[in-house]
């Protein structure tokens, strides 16, 4: 029985009670991403703020339809990046991407990834990695647009 390794309680909690969900105004950029294999979709809005010359993620709001993995992952993503400097948030995103590529072999950095370490089990299922990355990829895209094409 490997189901529990994928569907950790943390994931199911985020799925049932997503954090930061709903689209909010104002925002700097909005993107709409789909997973073409299943039709899962997410709309992500990003608001950035200049704090002493550094871009900080002020808010991430989203609306989506999809499986527990994609919805929970988007919820965890919003928890992790809101309030972070963009550079730091991108680092977290990269660490999550690495974790998803690890085929279940990685020892994730819990200090950096917090609740997102619960997705380690998902990385053993190639068909589900896209689900876990849907919200993250949309957030990265929206952030890049909010920065006006500059590097994050």
């Amino acid at each position: 029985m490997q189901l529990e390794s994928m569907y950790q309680e943390i994931i199911l909690d985020h799925y049932r009670n997503p954090h930061h969900k709903g689209l909010r105004d104002p925002y700097d950029a909005e993107v709409y991403h789909v997973n073409p294999t299943c039709g899962d979709e997410v709309t992500v809005r990003v608001t950035l703020k200049d704090v002493g010359g550094e871009q900080v993620v002020e808010d991430v709001s989203y609306e989506g339809l999809g499986c527990s993995i994609s919805q929970a992952s988007t919820s965890v993503m919003s928890d992790l990046v809101i309030g972070q400097p963009v550079a730091e948030a991108m680092k977290i995103g990269d660490a999550f991407l690495e974790l998803m590529k690890s085929k279940g072999q990685a020892e994730p950095d819990e200090d950096l990834l917090e609740d997102a370490v619960a997705f380690a089990g998902v990385s053993k299922y190639p068909a589900r990695i896209k689900c876990a990355l849907l919200g993250w990829m949309a957030w990265k895209d929206a952030t890049a647009r909010a920065l006006g094409g500059q590097d994050g």
């Binding site: 029985m1 490997q2 189901l3 994928m6 569907y7 199911l12 294999t37 299943c38 039709g39 899962d40 979709e41 339809l65 999809g66 499986c67 527990s68 993995i69 299922y125 589900r128 689900c131």
Partner: protein, 420 residues
């Protein structure tokens, strides 16, 4: 021979394996691709071990054997779908290519430089499809309309997953040039009234293309009785290898149609500035074809013929008579499409309240039950039915009533697991 599912299962080596840590495989994804019997696997091996050569152009014994095997497969396929003329059978790599072949040939015919080909499409012409089409019988027509200025129209689908015939008189009219539709829906299982639609289309002077990917594997299909002008189907869904599909078309159309792909073996004579073409079917088979795969498809057709298409249909109907009510009994489960076996094939798509299809299929997979989750390459149909995605269980000749139970038990377990 009497139909014995236990005997049939012995022909499919893969059904013996276990998955996900020792669970017996319950394969309910045959509408996606079917499993292969030993007879087909052995034919592929034997071809490569004993007869491998290129066809039609090798002047040696192996070449003769390979050519005979390839052309023999064409003959078998022709007989299987009821045409006495095997030159009406064109090998392609799959149904998508079969349909694209027709679509590109029609747009080649529409080129202003194509000597007023009677098949040419013009602005104002109409192509009719249905809302239940697989993307492979929709996107090629969208593209063809973009290239030619023809207009795409469609039959809508009713709540219960049948074609809405109420607008047929207006939809199929003198402007209609082609009606393209699925024989059997890959999502709903619905069997469409192809013959009736073909009669209307022909009365209006239109051609009819039938996507038979989901029907040819599961019962007797006679392309002529169907009344179609083009019929596409694919090997890998009918116990054959991947990489080999079929376009059947009426001979006179194949003669009128310009080529799709140019290259080796499709020519009659070539100069630096022009080419004349081989007669059908070779006019449409450019380059080295999937030879072993065609031979493997021939073996699959032999296999299905021996088991008997009618017996396969009846076996699947029996599974349907068990599965449809058993699924409908599950709280919160909604079957998409017809809920009774009449005029229906054995693919059953459904949604379960509170469980996304990906999550449901993951739980089923953990128990060894292989199904498909998503929109099954029929996104507009899912939009129409107000469903984002669905789970699909599809049955074939090797499935058993016990596997229906495994599916139902798995869904009930998923409901407990996700507490819905």
């Amino acid at each position: 021979m009497t139909f014995d599912v236990g005997q049939i299962r012995k022909d499919f080596p893969i059904l013996d394996r276990t998955v996900r840590g020792g669970r017996p495989l319950v394969y309910l994804d045959s509408a996606n691709t079917s499993q292969k019997p030993r007879q087909v696997i052995d034919t592929l091996t034997e071809f490569y071990e004993r007869h491998n050569a290129n066809i039609h152009r090798a002047t040696h014994e192996l070449g003769e054997e390979a050519t005979e095997a390839y052309e023999g497969a064409r003959l078998k396929v022709a007989r299987f779908v009821g045409t006495p003329d095997e030159t009406e059978v064109i090998f392609t790599k799959n149904v998508s290519e079969a349909i694209n072949l027709v679509a590109y040939s029609l747009s080649n015919a529409s080129s202003p430089r194509a000597d007023s080909n009677p098949l040419a499409l013009r602005e104002g012409d109409e192509i009719v499809v249905t809302e239940m089409e697989h993307h492979s019988n929709l996107v090629p027509w969208q593209l063809l309309c973009q290239r030619t200025g023809a207009r795409l129209r469609w039959f809508s689908v009713t709540e219960d997953g049948r074609l809405d015939m109420s607008g047929a008189d207006e939809l199929i009219n003198p402007r209609t040039r082609l009606v393209a539709l699925a024989h059997q829906s890959n999502v709903l299982g619905t069997i469409n009234p192809v013959t009736e639609i073909a009669e209307r289309a022909h009365a209006a002077g239109a051609l009819v293309l039938v996507d038979a990917a989901q029907s040819v594997p599961h019962g007797r299909v006679d392309v002529r009785a169907l009344g179609a002008d083009f019929v596409g189907f694919t090997g890998h869904k009918m116990c054959g290898p991947t990489g080999i599909g079929v376009l059947w078309a009426r001979r006179e159309l194949l003669e009128q149609m310009p080529p799709f792909l140019g290259g080796g073996e499709m020519i009659e004579s070539v100069w630096m500035d022009r080419t004349t073409f081989a007669p059908p079917p070779h006019k449409f088979e450019a380059g080295t074809m999937p030879i072993a795969q065609a031979v493997g498809l021939g073996a699959a057709v032999d296999y299905l013929t021996e088991v008997g298409p009618d017996a396969i249909r009846e076996h699947e109907q029996e599974l349907l008579r068990k599965a449809l009510p058993a699924l409908a009994e599950i709280d919160g489960l909604r079957i998409l499409g017809p809920t009774t076996p009449e005029n229906r094939g054995s693919a059953i798509s459904f949604e379960v309240d509170g469980i996304h299809p990906h999550d449901l299929s993951q739980v089923l997979d953990d128990r060894g039950v292989a199904v498909r989750a998503g929109h099954h390459c029929a996104w507009p149909l899912h939009r129409k039915l107000g469903v984002q995605a669905s789970t699909r269980a599809s049955f074939y000749l090797y499935n058993t009533p016990a596997e229906v139970d495994a599916l139902v038990d798995g869904i009930r377990y998923a409901k407990q697991f996700f507490k819905v």
